[in-house]
Amino acid sequence: MTSSSATSRKALSKIASNRLQKELVEWQVNPPVGFKHKVTDNLQRWVIEVNGAPGTLYANETYQLQVDFPEHYPMEAPQVIFLPPAPLHPHIYSNGHICLDILYDSWSPAMTVSSVCISILSMLSSSTVKQRPEDNDRYVKNCRNGRSPKETRWWFHDDKV
């Protein structure tokens, strides 16, 4: 159940692909701790392995993030979702969508794939319960047509986790 966005994906612009190539080189030289980029020849879709941080609820668990870049990256945020099975977390829906402001309204071109990954890991690490968001079933039902999380109007209500 990979969320193939309803909007057809356009190839990366020249600016976007230049920037991503530099991010990838930087990632290879200096990868964020706990993450592994799965090598493919597709610059527009990265699959990244996440290891839960030791001493947290997700220690010794491994998940996969799928990062899709829009044509005009970094003017627009990348689409980041967990591939199934998504970790049990109050801000992560069972279809892999993540409720995290920097992926939507608070995105800025000063951020990178690497900094986004670190934010997601910190979100996982600060969780105190393993559970789905309260509105999980309703939300996931609404997304059945393969809607991208970037089309959701998110409410960022909780800044503790």
Binding site: K14, I15, N18, R19, K22, E23, H72, P74, M75, E76, S108, P109, A110
Partner: protein, 305 residues
């Protein structure tokens, strides 16, 4: 009975205090309303700071070349009978013409005119800051007329630029070992009449002293930082779609001295246009630096010629 009367009196007293308080509030709220409507006239997008009791505010003023200047305004409760007091990052403050019917907008317009008349002064300072090894001030400061420049050979020269005629020969003081300074002094008194207004500051100095001057050791570091903080490239790609901007190097730098991130004006413009918090006034976009969140302002450029 006595106790009751006492209570009554206290009640009246609080009522009086309440009336006074109301009157004060009414007065201050008319002051607030007036000030708000005057800020509105200038444009909220130009406002940088406004303190809680509305007596101190600052505006961002762009000069003809797109440099950002900050104008600070202090008003008191007697405003607008008494003119606001103005300060800013300028070498001298203009005299603000003020009458009882004047508004904040009039002060801003006069300040902008003042900043524009100083164009030669700004460009001379930019020229010095960009082409010479400036030791002090540490970061380019617009209000200061002096620059301490390392010209090599253990010699430092203090240049004072006349803000009213910045292109003429600057005043200078030499500092360093006597043996190196005396030939410099001689060269200066012999050649300073060769100073030409249309030449750059550096070229004039080279002509007067007769030797090449060192560049700031930071220049190399700066060149690495000339990568655009948005597209990560030094030069825009060469594409017809980018018109005159095709292949262009970074041409914008964040004004915040602690940030100084470089950008392509075009990338910054594209970013500001893609978010809803950006404000536009004529052909200038106002938003914040993606790195430090300090205010930035970019002129809209049309790539499609």
């Amino acid at each position: 009975m006595m106790a009751k009367r006492g209570l009554l009196r206290a009640g009246i007293a609080t009522e009086c205090a309440g009336q006074i308080r109301c009157r004060e509030l009414a007065n201050s709220s008319s002051f607030c309303r007036k000030l708000y409507s005057e800020i509105e006239e200038v444009g909220w997008e130009h406002l940088v700071r406004l303190d809680d009791n509305l007596t101190f505010l600052s505006f961002r003023v762009l000069d003809a070349s797109g440099r950002v200047h900050v104008m600070e305004v202090q008003v008191d409760k007697t405003y607008p009978q008494c003119p606001p007091s103005i300060s800013g990052d300028v070498p001298y403050i203009p005299k603000i013409e003020w009458s009882a019917t004047s508004r904040l907008k009039d002060a801003v317009i006069q300040f902008k005119k003042h900043v524009d008349t100083l164009e030669d002064f700004w460009s001379t300072l930019d020229d010095i800051d960009n082409s010479l090894w400036v030791v002090n001030p540490n970061f380019p400061c617009r209000a200061m007329c002096h620059r301490l420049v390392n010209i090599g050979n253990d010699c430092i020269v203090l240049f004072s630029i006349n803000a009213r005629s910045p292109k003429t020969v600057p005043e200078c003081r030499f500092m360093g070992p006597d043996s190196s300074i005396s030939p410099l002094r001689k060269a200066w008194s012999r050649n300073c009449k060769k100073w030409m207004q249309e030449k750059s500051f550096r070229d004039n100095l080279v002509c007067v002293f007769g030797f090449e001057l060192p560049k700031s050791p930071d220049t190399e570091k700066d060149e690495q930082q000339l990568e655009c903080g948005i597209c990560y490239a030094q030069h825009l790609p060469i594409e017809d779609e980018l018109g005159t901007k095709s292949g262009c190097p970074t041409d914008y730098q964040c004004d915040n001295a602690n940030c100084r991130r470089a950008f392509h004006g075009l990338c910054l413009m594209d970013w500001l246009r893609s978010i809803t918090t950006t404000r536009q006034s004529f052909d200038v976009l106002f938003g914040s630096c993606p790195y430090c969140s300090e205010p930035v302002a970019v002129k809209i450029t049309n790539t499609r010629s």
